[in-house]
């Protein structure tokens, strides 16, 4: 748990002066930010801008989780990494970049794959979780772990010229499973490696995630509980969708949950927890 900060230092006041002026944030909101810890699952196209703007805004602690290493094909959208970081763990590369921007943020890199074995123990240490992952099994895993530990989940995704964002398990709203009780057939899932993605589209969606995390952490509250934001970059069109409420029959957050601990999500989804899409033959 983070040491509660009771006052801003002179350096804090200088650094955050432009946002301290905001009536919706102010000193109280800034102190709230400094007390909040956020776990970012995935340091790719979404996680990079998200980590960047949360660190810049003065979030207290940032967990940066990714099992992967930086490759040249990441750099068109994963803007925290540089050419010199190729081959390096993304979690470390992201943590170093974030520290250059704001050394007062506590940065914890996790160079590992989130799994049913480690997810609860990790997520319990954070106040807010951001899903910036790139595959279906991880999305169910993160959501179930957030329900079981009672954490709000700021989730975004992007593919080609499209993006989506929802805040799950927030103020009594639905979880990921409430919306998607059954996983999609693996052959219908298109990943960024197969379908491509315009780099600035996850850039925009990751910035939206940062905005919603900041609003939740500072006490303003998010606009996207039980709400889906759809972004179409080709027509520059936005759409806000009213979603179903928390489902009484949901397997994990419902009244008689059948999922009371984490399960095998690769088996559940029939696909591997990477974006190098292979179908699992079980």
């Amino acid at each position: 748990p983070l040491r509660a900060k009771h006052a801003l230092s002179n350096e804090d006041i200088m650094r955050y002066s432009r946002q301290l002026l905001l009536p919706d944030l102010g000193v109280r909101g800034q102190l709230n930010l400094s007390k909040t810890s956020v776990l970012i699952v995935g340091c790719g196209g979404l996680g990079c801008p998200l980590a960047q703007y949360l660190a810049a805004a003065g979030i207290g602690r940032l967990g940066l989780l990714d099992y992967d290493e930086v490759e040249l094909s990441n750099l068109h959208r994963q803007v925290l990494h540089g050419e010199e970081n190729q081959g390096q763990a993304k979690a470390l590369s992201a943590a170093n970049a974030v520290r250059r921007l704001n050394s007062t943020v506590e940065c914890v890199p996790y160079h590992l794959q989130l799994s049913p074995e480690n997810a609860l123990q990790l997520i319990q240490q954070y106040d807010i979780v951001a899903d910036c992952s790139d595959n279906v099994p991880t999305r169910y895993l993160v959501s179930d772990a957030c329900v079981l530990s009672g954490k709000p989940l700021v989730s975004a995704s992007a593919l080609r010229m499209d993006g989506q964002l929802t805040v799950y398990n927030y103020r009594g709203g639905p979880c990921y499973r409430c919306l998607y009780p059954a996983p999609p057939p693996p052959e219908t899932v298109t990943n960024c490696s197969d379908g491509g993605v315009l780099g600035v589209v996850p850039g925009i969606m990751g910035c939206f995630q940062a905005l919603e995390v900041i609003k939740i952490a500072s006490g303003q509250g998010s606009s996207f509980g039980q709400q889906l934001l759809m972004f179409d970059a080709q027509d520059a069109r936005f759409r806000s969708i009213k979603l179903r409420p928390r489902q009484a029959g949901c397997a994990v957050c419902g009244e008689e949950p059948s999922v009371t601990q984490l399960v095998d999500y690769e088996a559940f989804c029939g696909s591997a927890a990477t974006d190098k899409c292979q179908r699992l033959h079980l």
């Binding site: 995935g42 790719g44 196209g45 979404l46 996680g47 899903d131 910036c132 992952s133 790139d134 595959n135 279906v136 999305r139 975004a156 995704s157 992007a158 593919l159 080609r160 010229m161 499209d162 993006g163 989506q164 919306l179 998607y180 009780p181 059954a182 996983p183 999609p184 057939p185 219908t188 899932v189 298109t190 990943n191 960024c192 379908g195 993605v197 996850p202 889906l228 759809m230 179409d232 759409r239 806000s240 969708i241 009213k242 979603l243 179903r244 974006d275």
Partner: protein, 98 residues
Amino acid sequence: FLTTICLEVGGAELLFDGVKEHQVTLPGQSDPWDMKQLLVWIQRNLLKERPELFVQGESVRPGILVLINDADWELMGELDYQLQDQDCIVFISTLHGG
């Protein structure tokens, strides 16, 4: 009942030949159209190839979210919802990339 609706595809998957918006007039019938009948009609008339990317049993396949006039169809009665003239039905493919 003669019903004209708009059908839209949101998200990245190109179900209907890559066309995002369709204006569709459903054939006349004695009862109002419901969503269950609409899905059958779409499957027969718009999805000539690989219907399994769209339907499963008598509903849409997992991973597709259906909107009726910008609201989750779960709020509107799902398969039993009776279509009104000028309704806008959107099929969203959930995205998973990051």
